[in-house]
């Protein structure tokens, strides 16, 4: 981890990533902007501050592992991977095309993708496997897993939650992108999750609630997670779906729809204005 984070620079990076998300989705003509925009700060902090990685050597055995369990939000991950140099930025404009390096949901053909995802609810188990492998191999890498809030309605997540605590996986840190919406509407109306922090604590986890758009809070939470021994940590990051784009914020339609030409123009204006502030 870089000793002194430059908060301002990370904020700017998150804004660049948002611009990249809008551009690639607009070009692709389909995809999931809402949940990509909501976790832009979390992904930025991970890929530009927290993760111990070597983009030129994606299979470096001692790398920290990151797994995107909410696979549909891959545009945010692709933007970060491209920015870190895992592959040429030109690939972003081929998203979702036949034969593309960047598939509609994460695929191992993409440098930086450890395990495919897309079918929700499996990622925390995948992260558990990575965590156990690290323990067996006596490696000091850490494992990070980003989940969606709608996703944790899957039973598999709670099987994994039990197992991560049972096996005392303190090298594992999960992040929940808690933007409050799923495809069919508000989480609280479709299938309520609260009390969420209590649930994770009852499952044996150290749980931290933060503002998922506040870079300093995100950094502090990841640092805290490293100090917790004997149990896994979950960072419940309260976020806004579609964050940073006025026509997309809290609009459920943008869970899985790309912006049209007018919306794209508006979105890029919003983001560029924010960047110049």
């Amino acid at each position: 981890m870089n000793p002194q984070p430059d908060i301002k620079k990370l904020e700017e990076q998150a804004c660049n990533i948002r611009i990249s998300i809008i551009e690639m989705l607009s070009k692709a003509g389909s995809g999931h902007p809402g949940g990509s925009l909501s976790c832009a700060e979390v992904i930025t902090v991970l890929f530009f501050h927290v993760l111990r990685i070597k983009p030129q050597d994606p299979n470096w055995p001692d790398r920290d592992r990151f797994h995107l369990s909410k696979g549909h939000s891959c545009p945010v991950l692709y933007a970060a991977l491209a920015e870190r140099g895992y592959f040429d930025k030109k690939e972003l404009s081929n998203l979702r095309r036949l034969g593309a390096l960047l598939q509609g949901h994460p695929d191992r053909r993409t440098p930086g993708i450890e395990v495919a995802s897309g079918s929700l609810g499996q990622g925390l188990s995948v992260a558990l496997g990575m965590s156990l492998a690290g323990r067996i191999d006596k490696k000091d890498y850490r494992v990070y897993c980003l989940m969606g809030d709608g996703e944790i309605q899957e039973g598999n997540i709670w099987e994994a939650a039990m197992a991560c605590a049972h096996y005392k996986c303190d090298n594992l840190c999960a992040v929940l992108d808690y933007n409050g919406f799923q495809i069919d509407g508000k989480i609280s109306e479709i299938m309520a999750l609260e009390p969420l922090k209590d649930k994770w604590q009852a499952f044996g986890w150290h749980a931290v609630e933060i503002n998922g758009h506040n870079i300093a809070e995100i950094i502090k939470a990841f640092e805290e997670a490293k100090t917790i021994k004997g149990k896994p940590t979950i960072i419940i990051a309260k976020t806004t779906k579609g964050k940073g784009v006025s026509c997309m914020e809290n609009v459920v339609d943008f869970h899985g729809r790309a912006p049209n030409e007018t919306e794209t123009k508006q979105a890029l204006e919003d983001l560029k204005k924010k960047k110049s502030l």
């Binding site: 188990s125 496997g129 598999n156 099987e159």
Partner: protein, 313 residues
């Protein structure tokens, strides 16, 4: 036929043997380690054994995570739960990534016996055969179980190995095991009888009955369903007058379907299927159930005669 063995006992012991030199072997179970015999590995190498409780979906996706870090993962539970409960995890987290996860499932088929239909997987092969990258072995006895486990360890990618609950007699006439290559157990030129798993024993019984009646049957142990020995199938169509396929599985999607696909595309001929037809299993002793579901040597004899009469043989 020689000594009868539990395939799962052989499996557990083989894992312990292999675990010594292969430090990258990790074994997982979901609360059935006493039955699947993975507990033998757990006892020998506790740091490389994980029990996930009654949570097969978590076991399967965790296997993928371990494999992504270079481990060879053997994951076990009953065939019903291994292939049914965790199918999505197996498809998306294991097979799509082409990971080194070896799913070794026990208690397949109606020969599970008294536990009844809920525990008798009869559609597991169909479920596994439909997933790209998955290789499938259905060993016929104890020693072949060991061969299958070693082949899975030495061959990259996901495997499904299907084992029985009950003791099975050792088939003496086998040739050395080769992944993807079937093995002729009895030579014959009237009818070809293909079988896998415990049905190989029944096919041999059928061959003995048919021989007494002057019908010469070829018995082929089709232990590998993926990759399938297409060459042998085509050869048998050319050299004999008809095919019978036997499996302790529904006639939909298993060995018979696999052979039918090859025959239809290459050399159409009549194939009679000996398997379970649109029914669930039920309680009973394994022997009673094989009889009830028409899976005995006598049933294979009837099928062989049927295919020969259709051919005018």
């Amino acid at each position: 036929m020689a000594e009868a063995l539990y395939q799962r006992e052989v499996y557990g012991k083989t894992l312990v043997e292999l675990g010594k030199d292969h430090q990258n072997i990790i074994v997982l179970d979901a609360d059935l380690s006493s039955s699947t015999k993975t507990k033998l590995f757990g006892k020998a190498y506790p740091e490389r054994f994980f029990n996930f409780g009654v949570a097969e979906q978590n076991m399967m996706a965790t296997a993928a995570g371990l494999a992504s870090c270079g481990k060879v993962v053997f994951a076990s539970t009953f065939a019903m739960f291994a292939t049914g409960r965790a199918w999505d995890q197996l498809r998306n987290s294991v097979c799509y990534n082409n990971f080194n996860v070896k799913l070794v499932a026990t208690h397949a088929g109606v020969s599970v016996g008294e536990d009844g239909a809920s525990h008798q997987a009869i559609e597991d092969i169909a479920l596994m055969r439909s997933i790209p990258n998955m290789k499938i072995i259905v060993p016929c006895d104890g020693p072949e179980t060991k061969d299958a486990v070693i082949a899975a360890l030495n061959t990259p990618g996901p495997f499904y190995i299907r084992l029985s609950r009950a003791k099975v007699p050792t088939i003496e006439e086998k040739k050395p095991f080769k992944l993807g290559k079937s093995c002729v157990i009895k030579e014959g030129n009237d009818v070809s009888i293909f079988a896998c798993g415990i049905m190989v024993e029944q096919a041999i019984k059928a061959e003995e009955i048919l021989k007494k009646e002057g019908i010469s049957a070829r018995v082929i142990n089709m232990h590998t369903l993926r990759p399938l020995d297409e060459e042998m199938i085509i050869k048998c169509v050319k050299e004999t007058k008809g095919l019978v396929v036997c499996e302790e599985h529904t006639v939909v999607g298993g060995l018979a379907s696999a052979i039918d696909e090859v025959v239809c595309e290459n050399i159409p001929t009549k194939v009679i299927r000996v398997g379970i037809r649109n029914r669930f299993g039920q309680s009973g002793s394994p022997a009673e159930l094989l009889k009830e579901y028409n899976l005995t040597g006598s049933d294979i004899v009837i099928a062989a005669k049927k295919v020969l009469s259709a051919k005018g043989g």
